[in-house]
């Protein structure tokens, strides 16, 4: 379909402003706009149609099953949208007098308390905008904590398992730490012997996702805790997989000192095609003094912002965090209450059921019960029929499903990382399993079906190499190149 710029006609417009007839003050010549930005010129009817049509070319949880591993694509209740849009929330200014924002502050505090209970930790800051920023914040807290103890110079190393999500090592670098890699053992746990050899008085901490990105709960977690705390180091919990353990096992009880929570995963903030998210962090008592400022605190019956935090690392984001996300996620939490445990149980049940139905048709790198997600490998299909995980993913689209996460975690070749979430019905899981089995069969009989997939999507398989080579990242109006006229690139890089 056309770009909105290609639908633009000089003189058209949707929004209008009242002209007040007040004089417009002059702007110094050297500061004046010389050429107007070429924004779309389009009337409202066509504006609305354009974005409506765009939406029909997109797949969301509302469209169908979305088992994108590590992303927890669960149902997003519409009541949460209604609540976030209440004028008392939506139109509240962040610098509004505290007495005039008591409801918002109270909501923040109640959410903090709920997250502290779910994670089993003492204090929470809602400020981080997403999980990745939670990681940065957590690592900054480690610096501050050790600096306070005069150990920051010495403790330069952060231990990360080879199953870790890319954000973990990236966060380590961005906070000036050094990486220590630790391996995964035959059961999918951290290799404890390897770990012992690598943790010492130069170690600042560990970053771990548990259940791991393999969807496996680390059976050695207690030993791991002894190793790190024994060495005076801290433990960071990447909460991306918290959906597996709410009410079942708490990071704080596992010994973690810092946890981030992805509100847009476990707590149902709609992902919006890439965001917004929320990445609150929960910490142990001893780290509380270093949390970002302001803190949101109870003061008897009153709620207020506490800026007087001498040891704080400072601000990591504007104001107090993505408040609209808090409204949705707190509403989600209140809808479950203590039954959050049922949510995690259903997520784990759904995952194990799918695993049971698929384990014979695909390779299973670690033969264990899984938690809320599991990782299969298309290694066999590739070896025997030349059908890759990428092919399987594309072919799933023809069956009406969103593909799982592919090629992650890196330690599993041809990885297919499948997370059904708790909100899917059994017949949906069965339909997906049937499709996966049919595709495995197709791979043997007519692999080209897979190589050429998808066949029923608005566009066919896209040339990602050409995109990267040509780097056309904006519309160029009259000078816009015609990529169709250019030869296809070397072949399609895997996502």
């Amino acid at each position: 379909m056309k770009l909105i710029y290609e639908k633009s006609h000089p003189g058209r417009r949707a929004g209008r402003l009242l002209s007040l007839g007040l004089p417009v003050p002059g702007v110094p010549a050297e500061l004046c706009r010389t050429e107007p930005p070429r924004l779309p010129e389009i009337a409202e009817p066509d504006l609305l149609r354009h974005f409506t049509e765009l939406s029909t070319r997109n797949f969301g949880v509302d469209t169908g099953f979305y088992p994108l591993g590590s992303c927890t694509m669960k149902h997003n209740p519409r009541v949460n949208e209604r609540l976030a849009a209440l004028p008392g929330f939506r139109d509240l200014h962040p610098l509004e007098d505290e007495d005039r924002a008591q409801g918002a502050l109270r909501l923040c505090i109640e959410l903090q308390e709920a997250l502290a209970e779910v994670t089993g930790l003492a204090a929470v800051s809602l400020q981080p905008a997403a999980g990745s920023q939670g990681e940065l914040t957590g690592l900054m807290l480690m610096h501050a904590y050790f600096a306070d103890r005069g150990e920051d110079e010495r403790r330069r190393k952060i231990v990360i398992p080879d199953t870790a999500h890319g954000t973990n090592p990236a966060s380590v670098t961005m906070t000036g730490y050094e990486l220590t890699h630790v391996q995964t053992d035959a059961r999918g746990n951290i290799d404890v012997d390897d770990l012992r050899a690598k943790v010492d008085e130069e170690t600042a901490g560990l970053m771990l996702t548990n259940p791991s990105t393999l969807g496996l709960f680390d059976e050695n977690i207690e030993e791991i805790e002894r190793i790190f705390h024994g060495a005076g180091a801290l433990m960071y919990y990447d909460g991306a997989n918290l959906n597996a353990v709410c009410g079942i096992s708490r990071p704080g009880d596992m010994g973690f000192d810092i946890v981030h929570i992805n509100l847009h995963k476990t707590f149902s903030q709609p992902h919006g095609g890439g965001g917004p998210g929320g990445g609150p962090i929960a910490v142990a008592e001893r780290l509380e003094p270093f949390l970002p400022a302001p803190a949101i605190v109870r003061d008897g019956e009153r709620y207020r912002l506490d800026f007087d935090r001498p040891k704080t690392i400072g601000k990591v984001r504007g104001y107090y965090g993505p408040f609209g996300v808090f409204v949705r996620s707190y509403a989600f939490i209140r809808a479950y209450g203590p039954q959050l445990r049922e949510m995690s149980e259903a997520a784990v049940l759904n995952a194990n059921y799918l695993l049971a139905r698929l384990r014979d048709a695909y390779d299973l790198p670690f033969d264990r019960l899984c938690m809320h997600e599991f990782v299969l490998s298309a290694r066999g299909l590739k070896r025997e029929h030349g059908a890759t995980a990428f092919d399987v993913a594309k072919r799933l689209m023809d069956y009406g499903f969103h593909p799982p996460t592919v090629y992650f975690p890196l330690i599993v070749p041809e990885a297919l990382m499948i997370e059904p979430t708790e909100t899917e019905a059994k017949e949906t899981l069965d339909a997906f399993a049937d499709a996966m089995l049919a595709i495995a069969a197709e791979a043997a009989e007519r692999p080209e079906e897979l190589h050429e997939a998808p066949h029923r999507t608005p566009v066919g398989r896209l040339d990602e190499v050409k995109a990267a080579k040509r780097a056309i990242v904006r519309y160029h109006f009259e000078e816009h190149p015609d990529l169709a006229a250019e030869p296809a690139a070397a072949g399609v890089e895997s996502a």
Binding site: V79, P87, R100, L355, T457, A495
Partner: protein, 440 residues
């Protein structure tokens, strides 16, 4: 729970297929020591009806903008958000999609981001924009990270007239980046190019906000030139709604343009979620943080869009990535795109001029001493109120007017200064009312 679909019959059948006899067995791998034995101590589950009642109660304990005639800005602004923007954001296919990793099922979001990137490039006069950053503060930190790697230098300069929120976030991130932060004081509400030039010596970049936190128009081209003289990257932090009236940073030598997207299409929402935008000159494209959408073709030669230049990103480059960001603010930047498309170039200019005209009208109508009397301002200005500004705010609120922001909170010696923001939603009557309350 109403969000769960499994019936008891489903559970039975599924457990049997799995080959276990109870759900507990699924958790066999959890060491006894880390199992949570009691029930979560959370308030009981609420039905949708109860949920609605409780949250309406909480919402009613706040005073939204409409509760008073508000002149409060200082970084977040009460601009009009058209209904069509809210409506588009509620389209489930967009609202409930993840980051578009699978382009064939995500052309809607991908094309929207491509269109957004184009709009940001057009506004800022830059060559490349990312798909959004968290907000107007973190994109400043992102800019520092780009500059550090582009120049190899160990220091960044920020003007004191840049939003305190932005400066605080930069200071929080800087140590991790190995950067020192230097602030350049304002002189009578604006920054002196010579001081900036001096400070920028061996700095990676120099960040200045324009219009600045006081609403004052900086000598932006001179500041950019001064930074460039020192071989520091000039970075402008701009208000998107000013760019119909004010020159594009790319046109006066900036290397990077950043800003808070909220004024363009987002509700204030007590500070978030919003979108931060970040655009740069082409030479920095491989140092850009976050998602970037690029055009390509499919097997049949049809045009399509994909996430591109991913080798910059954490999921491929890991510790060598240009950033650790994954989830960004796509839905909010989509609102920005809808809003900017709704306005068009003329509408954008109209909004800017309307704000300026109303603000100027307010200055005259109030007749209070301007703190920076010989500066040109955009939609916000600082006045002396002759006594502690926070008292003035409290008194005015009692009369149903929020007169603005008490600058003393961030700038020592300005306790008697009020920062007054005037958007296109304020009317001349509102301004008369403000005048009555402040001076009458």
């Amino acid at each position: 729970m109403s969000y769960l679909a499994l019936t008891d019959a489903d559970r039975e059948a599924m457990l049997e297929t799995i080959g276990v006899s109870s759900i507990d067995e699924l958790f066999a791998d959890l060491p006894a020591g880390v199992r949570f034995s009691r029930e979560l101590d959370l308030p009981p589950a609420l039905t949708e009806q109860e949920l609605t009642a409780y949250f309406e109660q909480l919402a009613s304990e706040n005073e939204p903008a409409a509760a008073a005639i508000s002149f409060l800005g200082a970084g977040m602004y009460d601009h009009y958000v058209p209904a069509v923007a809210d409506a588009v954001l509620q389209r489930g296919e967009l609202l409930t999609a993840y980051t578009p990793y699978q382009p064939e099922l995500s052309q809607g979001v991908l094309q929207a981001i491509f269109e957004y990137q184009t709009a940001i490039c057009e506004l800022t006069g830059m060559d490349v924009s990312n798909a959004s950053g968290y907000d107007g503060t973190t994109v400043a930190a992102d800019a520092c990270y780009i500059a550090k790697h582009a120049t190899g230098r160990g220091k960044v300069v920020v003007t004191e007239a840049t939003s305190p929120q932005v400066r605080q976030v930069v200071k929080t991130y800087a140590p991790g980046f190995g950067l020192e932060v230097v602030e350049v004081p304002h002189r009578d509400g604006a920054t002196d190019p010579d001081e900036l030039r001096a400070a920028a010596a061996d700095a990676a970049c120099a960040i200045f906000q324009h219009p600045n936190f006081f609403g004052v128009l900086e000598p932006a081209p001179e500041l950019a030139a001064a930074a460039a003289d020192a071989e520091a990257l000039p970075v402008a932090h701009v208000d998107p709604l000013s760019l119909g009236v004010l020159e594009a940073p790319g046109r006066y030598g900036c290397a990077i343009a950043i800003g808070e997207g909220q004024p363009a299409g987002n509700h204030v929402s007590y500070g978030g979620p919003h979108y931060g935008f970040l655009a740069a000159r082409a030479e920095f494209i491989r140092r850009m943080p976050g998602r970037i959408v690029g055009e390509t073709t499919d097997v049949a030669g049809n045009r399509g869009y994909v996430l591109t230049l991913q080798t910059r990103e954490q999921h491929i480059r890991r510790e060598k990535a240009t950033s650790n960001i994954t989830t960004n603010q796509t839905l909010l930047s989509l609102a920005g795109l809808v809003y900017l498309s709704w306005l068009g170039p003329q509408g954008l200019r109209d909004v800017g001029e309307t704000c300026m005209a109303l603000a100027e009208h307010a200055k005259e109508r109030l007749g209070l001493p301007l703190v920076f009397s010989d500066r040109t301002t955009f939609k916000e200005f600082a006045v002396r109120v002759g006594r502690p500004a926070d008292e003035v705010v409290r008194d005015a609120l009692a009369h149903g007017v929020h007169p603005g922001y008490a600058l003393g909170r961030d700038y020592p010696g300005m306790d008697d200064v009020l920062l007054v923001a005037v958007t296109e939603k304020r009317t001349p009557d509102d301004i008369d009312r403000l005048a009555e309350v402040l001076t009458g």
